[in-house]
Structure formats: C-alpha cells, structure tokens
C-alpha cells in the first residue's frame, strides 16, 4: 500500500525545463486539430441560429432547402434523443433533465441558439440552404439583464419563471447509498418595491436568496467590528474565446460512433457523448490529439457535437461541423457576471470579523451555474473572515449559456471583495499588504460553510509566504512612498490575494515496459496547451530512474487504449495525474523487484530500480528493463496485465486488457490519502499609470507569486502564470459583452468588439512570476495546479492599483475603461448606470 511521501529534494526531472514531445508538431503546423481531419465522402453542415432571444418555433418549411442540389439532409430538434437518465461511474443516478441544454431546440432561450442543421456537399451549399428555409416563431418574453427580470413586473426569462432553485437532496435511508443530486427547479422571483427603489439608487438590493450558507455568528462578528463597509460591485460576463472553436467531425463504423472534437479531456468525453447520445460508452470513440484552448469551456467538449453525430447517422456519411467565430460567441460558453453586495466588519488592525456576502449570478438560460456558490467559498478561504454568511440568487437570462472559465466564481468573488478590502485599509490607515497578510489563509485553513458545526479545510496554504516574497520582488515598501501624481499622469500600486481548487484524486495510471526496454505511457488527459498532460509523466521517469527519452507517450484517441484520467479543468491535472503517475510507477517498481527476486534470489525489497535496470542493492546481480519485460510476458498474470486490480475504472480495465501480454504492464489507481481539499493561491502585485486627460491606463509592472507546492515544469508554470494573469487583466481592462436590452441582441460578437486583451495590452517584459516552492504535504510529489488563481489576482491587483492612483470614487464595476475613468474624473463620481448589465 503506497503512503504519502513529501518532496525528495534531489529531483532529476521534476522542476526542470524540457521540451514536450508534441511541441515540434505544434510550432510547425503538423499538429492536427478537429478541423484538420477528413473522412471519405465527408459532408459539411451549417446551423440555423435563433434570431430572437426567446421564442417558440411554430413552423419550419425546408422544402426549398432540401431541393437545392448538393443538400443531403436536415436535422431538427424533434430528431434528438430525449434527455435520458445517466448513471455515473460511481453508480450515482442523474435523472433526465427536461430543462437541460440540447444540440438543437424548438424553444430558443437566447439569440444565437441552434434550431436546426443542414448537411450538404460543402459549406456554401449548406449556408445557401439555410437561407432557403422558411421558419416562423412565436415571440416570448425575455430579459438579458438579470436585474431587469428581478424587477417588479419584469419579464420572465423562462416560461415558468426566472431563477433556479435547487432542492436539498433527500437524506439517505439507513443502509442505502446517498441519492444523486435532485434536478434544479425554476421559480418566479421578483423584488419588492422597496428593493427596486434601492436598485434604482445604484445599490444591489439584498433580497430573499435562493441559496444560503454560513459559519460562525455574523451578528456577533459585526458587534466586534470597529469599521463596517458595505459596497456593491459588478463583474463582467466574458466569453471563454478559445482560439480553436468547438468544431467536430463524426462518422459511424459498425455501430460505433467516432468523433473528432476539441476537448479538455479525451477520456471523460466518452461518457459525456454516450449520455448525450443515449449510447453505451463502449460504442463511442473520441479522437482529440490537440485542443486549441479550453479555459473550462470544453471540459468534456460541447453538446453541439451531437449535431454532426446525429446528422452523420441520418445521411449515412461523415459530417463535419466547423464552428465559425460568430457561432463560437453563442456556443463557446462564458463566465457569468456576478453582481455582489458585500458588507464587512473589520477590527482596527484590519482583521475581518464578519462578512455578509450577497450575489446575483447572471447565469444564462441553462444552469444553474456553480459560480455564485464558488464566489463565497473562495472569499471564505482567501480572506478567512471569522464569521461569514453567503447568500445568492441564480438568475436565468436570455443570453448565451455560461460555463466554467478559469477560476469560475472564484475570480468574481475576489473581484467583488478586493476593492472593498483596499478601501477598508485606506480607512483604517493600514498597509495594503499588511491587511491581506493578517487575513491570509495559512496551513489547514477553513473553506466554505459549516455543516453540522464543522467546516472543510484545505490541504495546505502558504499565503503569508507568497505575500512576503511578492512584496520583496515588487519592492512594495519602497514604492508605497513614491509620487502618485505628476503632470498629466497618475500612478498607483495594488495587491490582491486569490485562490482556487487545484487538484482532484482517484484516477488511474497505465503503462507498459516492453521488451525494447522503453516505457509506453498511456494517458487519457486532454492536450489543451497547458502541457500538463505530458508534465505529469515526468514523475514516471523520476520514480523509475529512466532517461526521459525512454518514455513514449500515447494520447489523443480512446481507440488507443487510454486509462481513465481527470478532465483538465479546475486545475486538477498536475495534482491528480502526478498522483496517478506516482501510483503506477510504484506498481511497476514493485513488479520489477518481484521479478528480480524470483529470478535472482532474495526478497523484492533487496532490489533497487534505476538506470534502466532492476538490481540488488549495493551492487551485484540485476536485469535490464528489457529483460524484465520479457520475463513479465512469460510470467503472465498481474505482470503482463492478464490480472488487473479490482479498483481501477472501467475504461482503464478495458484498455489494460487490450494491452495485456505486451510487456510488464503497470496499472494503478491513485489511493493516496489526502487530508483536506487541494487549493492553490496567488498574491498579485500591480502598478498602473493613468493618463488623466484621456482616462487610459497601462499596467506598467506586475509580480505574481504562487503557492502551488512543487513546480513540476517551470517553463509551463510561467506560461500559465502569464496566460491566466492576462486573462484576469482582460477583466479589468476592456473585455465584456454588449447587449441591446430592448432587442435582447448581442452587439459585440467579434474579437475587435468584445476586446479580449492583446499582447500589447499586457506588461510582457515587466511581468515577474515566482513560486513559494513549499511542497503540498498531502500529495506524493507535492504539486498542485496553477491554472485558476492568477485570474482574480491579475484583475484585482489592477483594480486596486487604479483606486490607489485615482481614489475610490472611480469605478463600481469592471472592466474599467477610459470612458469610466474620464467621466469619473470630470464629474467626481462613478458612472450613472453602475448596475446595468452588458453596456
């Protein structure tokens, strides 16, 4: 039985830079993404998107379209399989959800929702056919602003109501498994007139919540407080905007469905497709060798891939659906904006003794999203309030579906809290680093609500250390006293703390040591550009002491016998899959020792593995990995994969069975113990310079220090720090949605209109990153993920720096663009419409 083991300092591969084996293909254009595949007789399809934000399809006449030469078929929502119940690998039954999103619909809930698809010999013919379709709609009420539908007399966004309510799960009967989650329900909820009046004053009304949790006693906390702050802040809705759109190509062979798609998880997309298609998982093959970005929007690809899959079956030919940039705006998922009202009580020394947080989540039509709840959990972890209550409402809006985006909910929570924290420090006369340090999580810090009086805790946190290191690298104390205003320029500095989940557990590792002496590693992790898929395998080389070049890594097609792996979302991979890699390496090591003992005498523990050999400790007899592989085949049983451990997942078992007999087969599930929930942390420090005559500003300097445990691959880590921080900066600088509320229509559908940050908007040469380099004690190589917390730190450090430069009365929402700053400087107060969505 493996046990936890913290960091062995003299690593040969871990913590060292190297070039991943997929790199040359990427930089030479040889890598094949979903769109690059072709199949014999392949057709293309195009989508008809709803022109209305909420409507019912009354009539479709496709006769002219079907008569167009080259058109091969049409697919409507009537031909989709009905929503089916789904049983997870853990045996939990998820009931069929009639309100869940499907590939096509007869009741579009947002402008841009797909209604039907046409397959034709090429895209031009398919598009021309779409234009020949006569379609009639019945208009239905809609709202694109969550506060409009909450207003008294406001339109409902679904026919039954406008907010999600999730019933609490029924308590399990004695001796039975706990039931699965219950389906979310839709209810109508409107503010009172008094609440509406508060909204009109620019404050988010704290109305009746649909979700609520707490710990401690906030009333007692507020009584202890020397300072109470109460602020409203609005975060933007931002599209995930992966550079590769969610294109998919599908075909059928012998009853098996083959899908080429773009996904954050090769392995876990199989059950997702099986569920959407009402099929058995054994009949689904996923091919995804390279994925052009995910950010959480492609955790198991996207349900739109069911359209080419079903059309392919119907017209009996492979079908490619290339998603255009406009379609990606609608289908590509987005971060839900949160409206937050935060009341916080501080002692004189800056300690948060009470926090009362209320959020309204702009959740789009399908949901509910987890962002609202996550915002509260992350705030409770980042700033460790002694007593806290979190309440929220998940509002349904007629805008594109939301989904996770790097640090989902956490980024919004940090963005709502950080400006208030900065203002509190100013009021209390405290240093901005000091107020964060006194509230920083350290050790096994608590997270989220108290359930039966007990709160969950994290595996570890070293945030004070991150703040100290960052303050030093940024020269915080020196800069604190620098001149703030000169000529037409003002400058300011800001610091922010951020956290998010950083690792799951319980996945499988699988590889074969073949008679050529090489190690053939199988992985079901998605290859979405973070390099984590490869980086995790460094652990195999490390534990077995073999040169990295002796590993051959197979990924990208579930036809190639891949093990059950975590999805590369929520920064799980580097934590979960280094554990799995460690577990499977230990399995290989033990099998090698046993084989050596069998052949050469002695006990297994007398043998060492290293230098591509297994050999008797202190020198003497041994055999090469190649010889051991041959012996494993002769021995059979567990040594070559003919006997498998019972605890590995169904997919792993099938893959190991297919690979059995080829060499020494190592397979194991990560069963390492873990005390706590794995989270990672970033302390971000920013300097901005503002032009007081134009309202424009630049980020002139940035330092990010991460508490992520052991860094596996420094260059990839630096890439994540820079990339995810840039994603966060975008939320402060310019990125947003724009909607005309009267028509429910999006106006900023292209990059130049919705403005994600470019490389020239971010301080490329003035960006420093570092890690505290303290291994997490609850995982074998001490590594946690890094993909999430840089976002909130990046956004909030910039917002705080702006307030330092210009004062508090500048913004009440993000992004903070030149118009907001200039008007605030002109009028001396923040903008007139702080709560209106999508402006």
């Amino acid at each position: 039985m493996p046990t936890n083991k913290v960091n062995v300092p003299n690593y040969r591969f871990i913590g060292k830079n190297y070039t991943t084996p997929d790199m040359v293909a990427k930089v030479t254009g040889k890598s094949k993404y979903a769109e690059d595949f072709r199949a014999e007789g392949m057709l293309f399809c195009k989508l008809l998107l709803s022109p209305m934000p909420h409507a019912r399809v009354k009539r479709i006449d496709a006769s002219k379209a079907l008569a167009l030469p080259g058109v091969k078929g049409i697919l409507t929502a009537d031909e989709l399989p009905p929503p089916a119940a789904f049983i997870t690998d853990d045996g939990v039954m998820i009931p069929p959800d009639p309100r869940a999103e499907r590939g096509l619909t007869n009741e579009p809930l947002y402008q841009g929702e797909p209604i039907l698809a046409v397959a034709a010999v090429d895209e031009e013919t398919a598009a021309a056919a779409i234009e020949l379709i006569e379609i009639d709609f019945e208009r239905l009420p809609f709202a694109v602003d969550p506060l409009v539908t909450l207003s008294p007399g406001g339109p409902n966004t679904r026919n039954e109501g406008n907010v999600w309510v999730v019933p609490p799960p029924a308590p399990p009967k004695p001796g039975e498994r706990p039931a699965g989650p219950l389906l979310p329900d839709v209810k109508e909820f409107k503010w009172t007139d008094a609440e509406y009046a508060e909204y009109k004053q620019g404050k988010l009304p704290v109305s009746k919540p649909s979700m609520e949790w707490s710990y401690g006693d906030i009333d007692a906390g507020f009584k202890k407080a020397d300072l109470v702050m109460d602020e409203t802040f609005v975060t933007p809705n931002t599209s995930d905007q992966t550079l590769e759109t969610r294109t998919a190509m599908a075909y059928w062979q012998n009853g098996k469905l083959f899908v080429h798609c773009s996904t954050q998880s090769t392995a876990q997309t199989v059950p997702a497709i099986a569920r959407w298609m009402s099929m058995d998982t054994t009949n689904v093959v996923v091919i995804s060798e390279y994925t052009g970005g995910g950010f959480g929007s492609k955790v198991t690809s996207g349900i739109i891939l069911t359209v080419p899959a079903l059309l392919s079956k119907k017209v009996n030919a492979p079908v490619m659906l290339r998603i255009s940039r406009e379609e990606e705006h609608f289908l590509g998922r987005a971060r839900p904006g949160l409206h937050g009202r935060m009341k916080a009580g501080f002692t004189k020394d800056g300690r948060i003794v009470a926090l009362d947080m209320f959020v309204v989540c702009d959740g789009g039509p399908y949901g509910p999203q987890g962002d609202a709840n996550a915002s509260g959990r992350i705030v409770s972890l980042c700033y460790t309030p002694e007593n806290m209550r979190w309440r929220g409402i998940n509002v349904i809006t007629n805008t594109p579906p939301r989904g996770p985006q790097s640090q989902p909910g956490g980024a919004q929570g940090v963005m709502i809290m950080e400006p208030l924290l900065s203002n509190a420090a100013r009021k209390l006369g405290l240093d901005q680093v000091a107020i964060r340090r006194i509230n920083a999580p350290s050790g096994k810090a608590g997270i989220g609500p108290a359930i039966k009086g007990k709160r969950d805790h994290v595996t570890s946190a070293f945030v004070p250390e991150a703040l100290d290191k960052g303050a030093e690298l940024f020269r915080w104390n020196e800069r604190k006293n620098q001149t703030k205003k000169s000529g037409t320029k003002a400058r300011g500095i800001g610091v922010a703390v951020s956290a998010y989940s950083a690792g799951s557990i319980g996945f499988d590792g699988l590889f074969v040591i073949k008679p050529d002496g090489k190690i053939y590693v199988q992985t079901g992790i998605g290859n979405l550009g973070t390099e984590a898929m490869i980086d995790c395998q460094r652990v195999v080389a490390e534990v077995l002491g073999v040169p990295w070049e002796r590993l051959e890594i197979t990924w990208g097609s579930t036809a190639k016998h891949l093990p059950w792996s975590c999805p590369s979302g929520g920064s799980q991979t580097i934590h979960a899959m280094t554990r799995a890699a460690h577990a499977v390496s230990m399995d290989a090591k033990l099998k090698l020792q046993e084989i050596a003992a069998m052949d050469l005498g002695g006990k297994p523990e007398d043998y060492e593995v290293g230098g591509e050999r297994v050999y008797r400790k202190g020198g003497g007899a041994g055999m090469s990995l190649a010889q051991a592989a041959q012996r494993a085949i002769k021995l059979g049983g567990k040594y070559d994969g003919h006997e498998l451990p019972p605890e590995i997942a169904k997919m792993t078992k099938a893959s190991a069975t297919a690979l059995a007999g080829q060499g020494l087969l190592a397979v194991a599930k990560d069963k390492y113990k873990r005390d706590g929930i794995s989270n990672s942390y970033v302390a971000g420090f920013a300097e901005v310079e503002v032009d007081l005559e134009t309202g424009t500003y630049r980020i002139t300097d940035y330092v990010g220090v991460a508490d992520v445990g052991t860094v596996i691959h420094p260059r990839a880590f630096g890439g994540q720090m820079f990339g995810r921080t840039s994603l966060g900066w975008g939320h402060a600088l310019a990125q947003k949605w724009v909607y005309d509320q009267h028509y429910g229509a999006p106006l900023a559908k292209r990059f130049y209109q919705n403005r994600p940050p470019t490389i020239l908007d971010v301080p490329v040469s003035n960006f420093k990153w570092a890690a505290v380099d303290i291994p997490d004690p609850e995982t074998p190589v001490g590594a946690r993920g890094i993909g999430e917390p840089p976002v909130g730190a990046g956004a909030s450090a910039v917002l705080n720096a702006l307030a330092d430069a210009l004062g508090e009365q500048i913004y009440r929402r993000a992004p903070v663009t030149a118009d907001i700053i200039l008007m605030a400087l002109e009028t001396g107060k923040p903008g007139d419409e702080p709560l209106t969505a999508h402006i």
């Binding site: 195009k46 989508l47 008809l48 998107l49 022109p51 895209e123 031009e124 598009a127 021309a128 779409i130 234009e131 020949l132 379709i133 006569e134 379609i135 255009s324 940039r325 406009e326 379609e327 620098q482 001149t483 000169s486 000529g487 037409t488 320029k489 005559e693 134009t694 309202g695 424009t696 630049r698 600088l733 310019a734 724009v738 909607y739 005309d740 509320q741 009267h742 028509y743 229509a745 106006l747 900023a748 559908k749 990059f751 130049y752 209109q753 403005r755 940050p757 470019t758 490389i759 020239l760 908007d761 663009t817 030149a818 118009d819 907001i820 200039l822 008007m823 002109e826 999508h838 402006i839």
Partner: protein, 338 residues
Amino acid sequence: MAVIRDVMPAFELFQPATTDDALALLAKYGSDAWVLAGGLDSFDWLKDRIKRPKVVVDMSQASGLRGIKEVNGGLEIGAMTTLTEVVRHPLVKEHFSLLAEGAELAASPQIRNQGTIGGNVSQDTRCWYYRSGWKCYRAGGNICFADTPTAINREHAILDADRCVAVNPSDSAPALIALDAQMVIRGPGGERVVNAQDYFVGPDINIMRMTVLKPNELLTAIRIPGTWGGAKFYFEKIRDRQVWDFPLVNVAAAMKVSGGKIDQIRIAVNGVAARPLRLTAVESAVIGKPADAATGEMAGKIAIQGAVALRFNAYKIPLLRNLVKRAIGGVQEAAWKS
C-alpha cells in the same frame, strides 16, 4: 427566410491588371459589383452575407496603384499601397511623419500588411447595429438603432449627427486632412481630384455612403503636397486596446510655429462624427497665438462646441477637448519615466 452569418457566399472574382480594366468591369456590372482593396472591411461584409455582390473586382493585381513616389516636393501614394508600406516609407517618415503615425496606429501589424491606404480612408463605419445587418437609415431603413433610449452607443457620434449617429473609424483620414492631401478619383468620365476634407460625407449629404466615391469610380491615388512637409505634427489615438482597435477619438494636427507663435495650422479629428472633421474654428482661433497650454485649453473648448452626448458617449466630449488641447499645447509628461 432564415439568416446565416459568417460564411462567405460564392461570387465571381475579377482581378484586373489596370485601372481601365477595373473601370470597364464596374461599368459592365454596375450595382452587382464590389471593389475589393485589402479586404479587411469587405470580407466582414461578405462573410456576414449582408452585402451580396455578384461580382468582386479585386484591385490587388493593378500594380500601377501600388507604391509611393515623390512629386514636386510632395508625395503621390497609390491607393493600393499597404499601410505597412506607408508607415515604413523613408519619405513619409522624414517629411510627413503625421501620416506614418496615424497609419501605424491602425489595426494590427497583420492587418496593416494587408490593408491599404485607399481602403483605410474609404472604409465603412463600424456601428455595431449597422454591421449586424439591421435595417437602419444607413442600410436603407427609417430608424437609427444606435440613437434610441435603450441603445448602446458608447462608440458613436457627438458631432454632426443627422438621423444616423455612426462614426468614421479611419486613423489615416484625419492625418491626410491635416496634411491637406488630395484624393485622385477615376471614373467613366476621367479623373477628378478632391480635397481630402471633401472626400468624406456626413449623413446630411448622403446617409448611405461615407465618401463622395460613386459606385462606378475608383480612388486611385492620394497626393500630399509639400506644403506641410516637416511641420510640427501631433497625432494621438485613444482606444480600448493597444492594438487591433478602432479609435474612440483620434486627432491629427500640422502646425507651423515661428517665434513661439502659431503661423499656420490644420487640425482634424475622427471617431466623433460620420466623417473626419477638420476643425476650422479651432484653426482660426489659434493662429497668431502661442503654441502653449493656454491656447490648447481654449482650442479644446472650441472643438467641443455643439457636441451632443448620447446615453453612453458623454466621455467623448472631454476626450475630444483634451486631445485637441494636447495637439496644440503638448502633453505635460510625468516627472518619472513613463
């Protein structure tokens, strides 16, 4: 009938080698034809299937329209010269750096490699209602969607609006007006030359077009006289992103200063009206005055006279004021190194 966007339909493509051949094609196909320069504006329209020409006349093979030559101390720039070529040309940089600055702030390096100076000055507005294919005044309808109580119009006009509140997004246009450039136009009747400031039209003159160019005409060249060569120039563009973004407001000024006083000046702005505006009232008010902050303040206030804010674009008024102020009085930089 249903609508689909972001898929380019088929069209017949012509790539004439000469202007005469191009004009013959325009004469032959009339309103079915579309003139293509660099394609950065055109391809958006074509991909969105909102403009549906049967014939596209691609000018990229008309080599006579490409290049920059010196003429009488000034320059003649072929309409098909790319923005990158304009920006990098030694004579532009040496004598007319105002144009180099404006052109270099347009779009992104990739777009400037493909986009042409002729296309940049002749491009359509980017009003997002109009570009979404909504049937507004400019598209032949009878409403301006950007000027309603619910409209989102942060990027729209504060001056000279007439039913339509769209703005001209060109960065090179105000520089050319400030340099007193001339636009050379060829049509069935031969060549005509118009001053840069008269090349552009507002909605009061023609609500469906941005320039005086007729459908059967081609902009062939832009002439910059030597008059303003080496003058004191100022160009500034304010945008949300530092690359690949249209101006919220931009300003271009050419000044001749002697003894600290402004002898001559031409100043133009864009992003505030449907056409780039030459600020003649500012010009006459500042001549003879010192090129300093006080004159700049005065000029800024004159520039915004008559400006009317919509729901979300009130910021453009102080922004225009401050940019004009800086164009004349300069920028007071910080004591620290920015």
